[in-house]
Subunit: 169 residues, 2 copies
């Protein structure tokens, strides 16, 4: 029995596939870059950031965390040849609204002690200021020995209210 979400996926995808013409793209990103942005529902990276199919890796997680994305970034660079990182956080991010303690308390309250124990050491990586978080993540990537010194790294904020990006660093 399919959920309405699953039915939507199947029917919209059938429409997409019926017009699909780009089945011969190569595995490595053609433009050799990666975009790291937030999972936020209000961001459509391909449209908002001008990414053509096949051009770039797109990594998304809660808050566009560079630490959380390090595994993917290393694979992107060392195995698939990307040479530039575009980090884009955004206004109104959910990560600005809670602390690690809040999140752990919520898990315990909603899911119980076994869930709480399972994720006891998890850092939810929230932040309190968007520009500082962007600068901090760019700095983290520049300092990481696992990111080559010749990788170009920039940090941006996307305004969910206007659709505009601004470069921060």
């Amino acid at each position: 029995m399919s959920s309405s979400i699953q039915k939507n996926l199947a029917s919209k995808n059938a429409e997409y596939a019926s017009k699909f013409t780009q089945g011969d793209l190569a595995l490595p990103p053609a433009k050799h870059y990666l975009i790291l942005t937030c999972m936020d529902a209000r961001i459509d990276p391909a449209a908002a950031f001008g990414i053509n199919l096949g051009d770039a890796h797109v990594i998304r997680n809660a808050g566009a965390s560079a630490r959380d994305a390090l595994r993917s970034i290393i694979i992107s660079q060392q195995l698939l040849g990307t040479k530039e990182i575009i980090l884009i956080k955004h206004t109104g991010c959910g990560m600005l609204t809670f602390s690690n303690d809040d999140a752990h308390s919520l898990v315990k309250k909603n899911l119980g002690p076994s869930a709480s124990a399972e994720i006891a050491t998890l850092d939810f990586l929230p932040f309190t200021n968007i520009d500082d978080a962007i600068k901090g993540d760019v700095e983290y990537l520049k300092r990481s020995a696992a990111v080559s010194d010749d990788v170009i790294i920039s940090g941006w904020v996307y305004e969910v209210e206007t659709g505009k990006v601004r470069q921060i660093v």
Copy 2:
């Protein structure tokens, strides 16, 4: 001095923002679901999976790994109210092409011993069979105490050659 990638972002975004009309969407995903898929450059989730702006969280990492995404999944569910997970891996995934040992050797060779030491404990989470990896990740999420039992979870494969999705589990 901007790179050509940065210039492309700025100019394509200016065009996007000039026509942007959806600045009042709410932070929580309107359709209460999340899609977890791969960072692969050949996937455009909004177009291929029928996601309207504001409807769903989109988490992307190397291989669409559920383990890697757990932090984001908990935030999506516990703080932003999503109730369904659509996991989509894809044909021709880069994660099928290397082992953990390969990746660690490559980091040591390309970036040196300090990089190798920095990521010594990192699991790159590669896999050898796409259907098995999908089933394994769905199983992992169903077993995790940090994912509520009433969350609907399905697993799909996206064919980069045809643009089609197929449900696996």
